[in-house]
Each structure stands twice: as C-alpha cells, then as structure tokens.
C-alpha cells in the first residue's frame, strides 16, 4: 500500500498517511468486502486509490508530461561517471519522475499493472472500470513514457555532441 501511494504521489509523507488511512478504513469497513467482486489486494488498492486521488486533488498537482522539458532538463555531464550503477540509478530516478508526471488516469494504470504487478482484472477492480479501459489507459500511459524517454535521450545526445564540438 505504501509503495502504491508513493508511486502515485511521489511523497513519502502522503504515502504514509494514505497507508494508515487504508488500514483504518479496513478495520471499520471490512464487512463491505465481497470476495465475489475482487481479490483482497484489488480491494485494498481500490481504497488506497480513492485516498490518493483525494489527497492529490487537495494538493498541488504535478506538472503535465509535456511541460517537464524545461524544469527537468539538466546539463549533460560530459565527464559522466562510467559506473553502470550510477547510470541505472539516474535512469530509474528519471523514469520515476516521468511516471509521476503522467495524467492520473494513465499513472494509476501503469502503477497498478507494471509496478504493483496486478492483473488486468485486479487493476480493473481497483480502478472501478472495465478490463478494456485498463488496457487502453495502460497502453496510452506507456506510449507517453516511451515518447518522453526517447525525446530525453535524443536531447541529451544532441547536448553531449554539442559540448564535445565546443571542446
């Protein structure tokens, strides 16, 4: 629950609040769970999703994906650390920022299906929509991520090439 809320919000404090809210809600409303409608994990994720969405609506929303370019662009480090671990860590951090920048309806599909590894059916139960809707939102979310990642790589390459020419 904590990791789901963290992936959705990017805020450890918010994620802890949501986690606590989810389990208190379970304690109070456990009799509302129906095994015929969803698995326990999907039910819990659905509760967490509602709490996260409510908190995100109350607080400052994340920048839309397209506007990330200016604020997130960094000067390429031509003397980059050759260690693969550092590159992987940077890549993971970048992907985390991009996931957070997705519109919420695509972000929750990516987080539930690809990061929390829920099935389409469980994700649909958590999102209270049909399986086909989950598929299409996941599809669109991943395409947005791929486009942005590809654009970032091309911009970095151009900047690095430009820096080398200057040297």
């Amino acid at each position: 629950m904590f990791r789901f809320a963290l992936h959705m919000s990017g805020s450890p404090a918010l994620a802890e609040d949501v986690t606590q809210d989810v389990f208190l809600a379970v304690m109070r409303c456990a009799d509302r769970y129906q095994v015929s409608r969803s698995t326990v994990v999907a039910w819990l994720c659905g509760i967490a999703r509602n709490h996260v969405r409510r908190r995100l609506d109350e607080e400052r929303p994340f920048q839309p994906l397209d506007s990330l370019g200016e604020s997130e662009r960094r000067e390429p480090n031509v003397e980059s650390d050759p260690l693969g671990d550092l590159e992987r860590a940077e890549g993971i951090a970048r992907l985390r920022r991009l996931v957070l920048a997705l519109p919420v309806r695509y972000r929750e599909a990516v987080v539930l299906c690809d990061l929390q590894e829920l099935s389409y059916e469980d994700a649909a139960a958590a999102m209270r929509c049909r399986v086909g809707t989950v598929r299409s939102r996941l599809h669109r979310g991943r395409e947005l991520l791929a486009v942005k990642l590809g654009r970032d790589r091309r911009e970095e390459k151009l900047a690095v090439d430009g820096a080398r020419c200057a040297i």
Partner: protein
C-alpha cells in the same frame, strides 16, 4: 488500421503476461511492418525499465513510526468499540463461512497428534476432538481482526502463550470486568505463514482437564 489491430497482443507480449490471444498473427505482422517492430522494441525496453523501477522500489519502506502509529490507532479504535459494546472489527460474513471448518480440521489433527504423543490409544477408540482438548471447557476460537486479509488457511498449529489483559481488545476480545491477573493464557491458531488467524482464551478448568489426561 492493421497495426492497431495487433498492438493489443503485442503489448501483452511486450509486458510478458503469458501467451496473448492473436500473438501468432501479430508476429506475422511484425515480419512486414518496421513501425511495429520499432514500437515493440520500445515497449519491451519500457517493460525492462519499469521492472527495474519496481525492483528498486522494493527497498522503499515506510518509517518505523507508521507501524507504531497504526497499532496505536488500532488499539484506540478497538478500545472505543469495546467500550461502546460494538464488535471490535467488522468481519465479513462470507469469510466466516469457511474458517470454522478449517479450524475444526486443524483442531482435529492437532488433537489426534497430541493424543498419540500423550500415549493415548487412537486405534481402539474413536478419537474425539472435544474430549481430547477439552473444547467444551474452553471458549471457542474467534478470528483475529484483519485475519481475513491473510492468505487462505492451509495448515497450522496451536500455540499457547500469555498476553496482557490490556492488549485483549487488539485481538478482538473485550477486557473482562475486574480481571484477576495482568495477563491471560490464550491459544493462537497459527497458519502456514506463521501469522495467527484466531484466538481463544484458556480457562483454568480446561488446563486442569488436560493435565489429568
């Protein structure tokens, strides 16, 4: 249009979620469509990247304060409910339908094993769960709050321990009026994963009946 028709199967293939329907035709389409090959390469790379993020995220844990805050909130909720005479935790009726049968099976198996260890004869007399462990003298097992969120009960054991009287509401038991001791003896029904599913109080009468057997 043809590319869109195959993208659903290709997405499932890229996400490695089994053998998707239509993947045969989609693979044949890849042989003639460079755009879809590039798209599939991108999505397979995206899968690898997202899995790396998911793996890296497994190290992210909430602060230690969260667990203590949550337990304090549970205790406060349980105490308030017990004081108001309400059930400590709402329990789903559907879940309750199967667990008594599972608990009875475990109790029967546990009782037979105890009977054999204690030197009792199993083959010449009908082993009775009730007479072996004195169930009529003990309170029955009651499911722990939130035990229904655990995996299905497959096998387990009964663990006897003592818990503080003040902690009884956390286990779904109201604090008795005028408790004679600060702690009580309980039996916990522990599942295959080491997590307890149910609890029962052990009275002094049931302890005596076991010692005489």
């Amino acid at each position: 249009m043809s590319c869109r028709r195959h993208r659903r199967a290709l997405m499932a293939f890229a996400r490695q979620v089994g053998e998707p329907e239509g993947i045969g035709r989609a693979r044949a389409h890849l042989d003639i469509c460079a755009a879809c090959r590039r798209w599939l390469d991108e999505q397979q790379a995206m899968t690898a990247a997202l899995r790396a993020l998911a793996t890296a995220s497994r190290d992210e844990q909430p602060s230690e304060a969260l667990e203590s805050d949550l337990m304090a909130a549970f205790h406060a909720e349980a105490t308030a409910r017990a004081a108001a005479g309400e059930p400590v935790a709402a329990r789903p009726v559907a879940w309750l339908r199967w667990w008594p049968a599972a608990a009875a099976v475990v109790l029967a198996v546990g009782a037979l094993a105890w009977w054999q260890i204690a030197g009792g004869s199993v083959s010449n007399e009908r082993a009775s769960v009730d007479s072996a462990v004195g169930i009529p003298e003990c309170l029955e097992f009651a499911p722990l709050p939130l035990a229904f969120t655990l995996p299905a009960f497959e096998r387990g054991e009964i663990v006897r321990t003592q818990i503080a009287v003040a902690a009884l509401p956390v286990y779904g038991i109201a604090i008795p009026p005028d408790p004679v001791a600060p702690a009580v003896t309980v039996d916990l029904l522990v599942g295959q994963d080491g997590h307890p599913r149910a609890i029962r109080l052990v009275t002094s009468e049931s302890q005596d009946s076991r010692s005489r057997r």
